[in-house]
């Protein structure tokens, strides 16, 4: 059996399910933030800040961040395994895919660290 060493959960079915769960969290978070902005025309700094300082919103934001990492990994993996293939690129395809995922991992980690700092630096 060929195992996909770089897929998010090493299982297609599990990846499929994680992609759906993370999508629901991300969709709900997006609609929540958009809803808040729409409900507050002429939004000022104090109101905006009070939203993100709320403990439940912090937890929701953290959940959305973690969901984003999983969702983006699974999505990017699906895209590069379809287009950066050995048939198109020969032996260097695997190297290129690993390189893309490695860059993605570093960038995503930086995003995470930054986001945590933005949200937990608030007081």
């Amino acid at each position: 059996m060929v195992t996909a060493a770089t897929s998010f959960s090493r299982s297609g079915v599990s990846d499929w399910l994680i992609q759906r769960f993370s999508a629901i969290i991300l969709g709900a978070y997006t609609l929540f933030i958009v809803g808040f902005i729409v409900a507050h025309p002429g939004l000022d700094y104090t109101t905006w800040k009070s939203l993100f300082i709320h403990p439940l919103v912090r937890i929701f934001s953290l959940a959305a961040l973690l969901a984003l990492v999983a969702h983006a990994w699974i999505g990017l993996w699906a895209v590069i395994t379809d287009y950066l293939t050995s048939r198109l690129l020969g032996a260097k395809a695997i190297v290129l895919r690993l390189l893309v995922l490695a860059i993605f991992a570093v960038v995503t980690f930086a995003y995470m660290a930054w986001a945590v700092q933005i949200l937990w630096g608030l007081q």
């Binding site: 700094y45 800040k49 608030l122």
Partner: protein
């Protein structure tokens, strides 16, 4: 088995159906969002850092360049979300026939264009 087997994937001879366009746009918008997250985090950071930073961001957002970038990122997000909701609906067994798939795909394009237009109106 022959190592080099014939494959007909000459992109110039393939005419994408509407479902294909909706699918490839979902992928493109997803890849765009990998970079788009950077813009969204910058917006979050600048809007939350301080009162001054919030005011400075508001001023920046009236500039055409910044506005276009933000609109592009929000458009990718809107499209990706709408197309994603179609996926979830299809997972429940709705719109899985050929005709249903086509109808759903057209609906995604119409709804996404509507949301993107609304975002444009909201930003300007």
């Amino acid at each position: 088995m022959k190592k080099v087997r014939p494959v007909n994937l000459d992109m110039s001879t393939i005419h994408l159906p509407v479902t294909g366009w909706v699918s490839i746009l979902h992928r493109i918008s997803g890849v765009v969002l990998l970079g788009g997250v950077l813009v969204l985090l910058w917006l979050l950071d600048a809007s939350l850092r301080s009162q001054d930073s919030f005011a400075h961001l508001q001023a920046m957002l009236s500039g055409l360049g910044v506005k276009l970038v933000v609109w592009a990122v929000l458009s990718a997000l809107a499209y990706h979300l709408v197309a994603g909701i179609r996926h979830l609906i299809m997972d429940m067994g709705v719109g899985e026939t050929l005709e249903g798939g086509r109808r759903g795909a057209k609906l995604v394009l119409v709804v996404a264009l509507g949301v993107i237009a609304a975002l444009g109106v909201w930003l300007w």
